[in-house]
């Protein structure tokens, strides 16, 4: 019984210990992709131009 409770507690804490880093990673990843692929900044657009076309991001 105690062992079960410990296992459940461990499962819960490991779920949280995965969810938070995963959410941070997704936010960071989306930020990078939007920054290079979708930013309307002229300089970024020019630098990333060929990359955007190749990845078929909407460009221009």
């Amino acid at each position: 019984m105690t062992r079960n409770a410990t296992l459940i507690a461990q499962a819960k804490s490991s779920r949280a210990s995965i969810a938070v880093p995963a959410a941070v990673a997704i936010l960071f990843g989306v930020f990078l992709v939007l920054g290079t692929g979708f930013s309307h900044s002229d300089t970024i657009h020019n630098a990333a131009h060929d990359s955007r076309h190749s990845f078929a991001f909407p460009c221009h």
């Binding site: 990673a25 997704i26 992709v33 979708f38 657009h45 020019n46 990359s51 990845f55 221009h60």
Partner: protein
Amino acid sequence: MYRRIFATALIAGLLAGLGITAIQEVTTTPLIRYAEKFENAAPEAPHRHGALENRFSLTREARGHDTLSPHVHAGGEARAHDTLSPHAHVGGEAQAHEAAAPHLHAAGQARAHGNSSGAGGGHPGPGTAESETGIGPIFYTAMANVLTAIGFALVLVACFALAGRPVSGREGVLWGIAGFTAISLAPALGLPPEVPGAMAAELGARQGWWLLCAVATGGGLWLLVFRRSTPWTIVGLALLVMPHLVGAPQPQELGGSAPPEIAAHFVAASLVTAAVFWAGLGWLSGTFWNRLAPR
């Protein structure tokens, strides 16, 4: 967990980004350069002369959309983007203009890029110093590819972690194919990959639909794979179909500057390149994810 996710994504993204840069050099980039020649030429089109007249004298100040494309000003709603870039995209009212005068990607634009970015961060058009050496554009493209690849890898690896099942290189390829489906394949149905000079609807609307389609397809696939019950399957299928029922913004007129054969070839080249990229990114991510597993 932070270290495992971020280390995996950084290594996989760096390698995949560099690898895809080399592949793009022989698949998509030659077609982009070729299409730009048509975009730059077309002197017979009367609406272009604004751009051509300015090709040697463009400065940041001079590149208001009025100077570049005299026929646009009826719209009058130039946004910062338009003023900065000679593509002369305007909001809704620009649709007709867009159709009439595709982005003025002339040689003058590359020159203007040099003026505006100072550091020379630009994709140079034909005839500029950077394109002669060939180092500049590849460097910037590689940088953009690596950053984009790291971004995708972060999302992909975070999904490995959330799925909570072991992922090796082989399973990673399956994950990569799912990424390809969500990011490249499904959006391409509504917004086919564009060569420079293609006709297209207003940029913001296309970006919005693209994001909607990518997120909905990714979410739909997740539900189909990991929630195996009838209601979730129905929701997953609905998510896959929904963006296409909404419909991607389309140009009002057709007839881009590049020959249709080039545009068609580019669609295939872009999708094939993306498929290779995602398979590679998935394999690399799975391999390093597995290798960095706590013992």
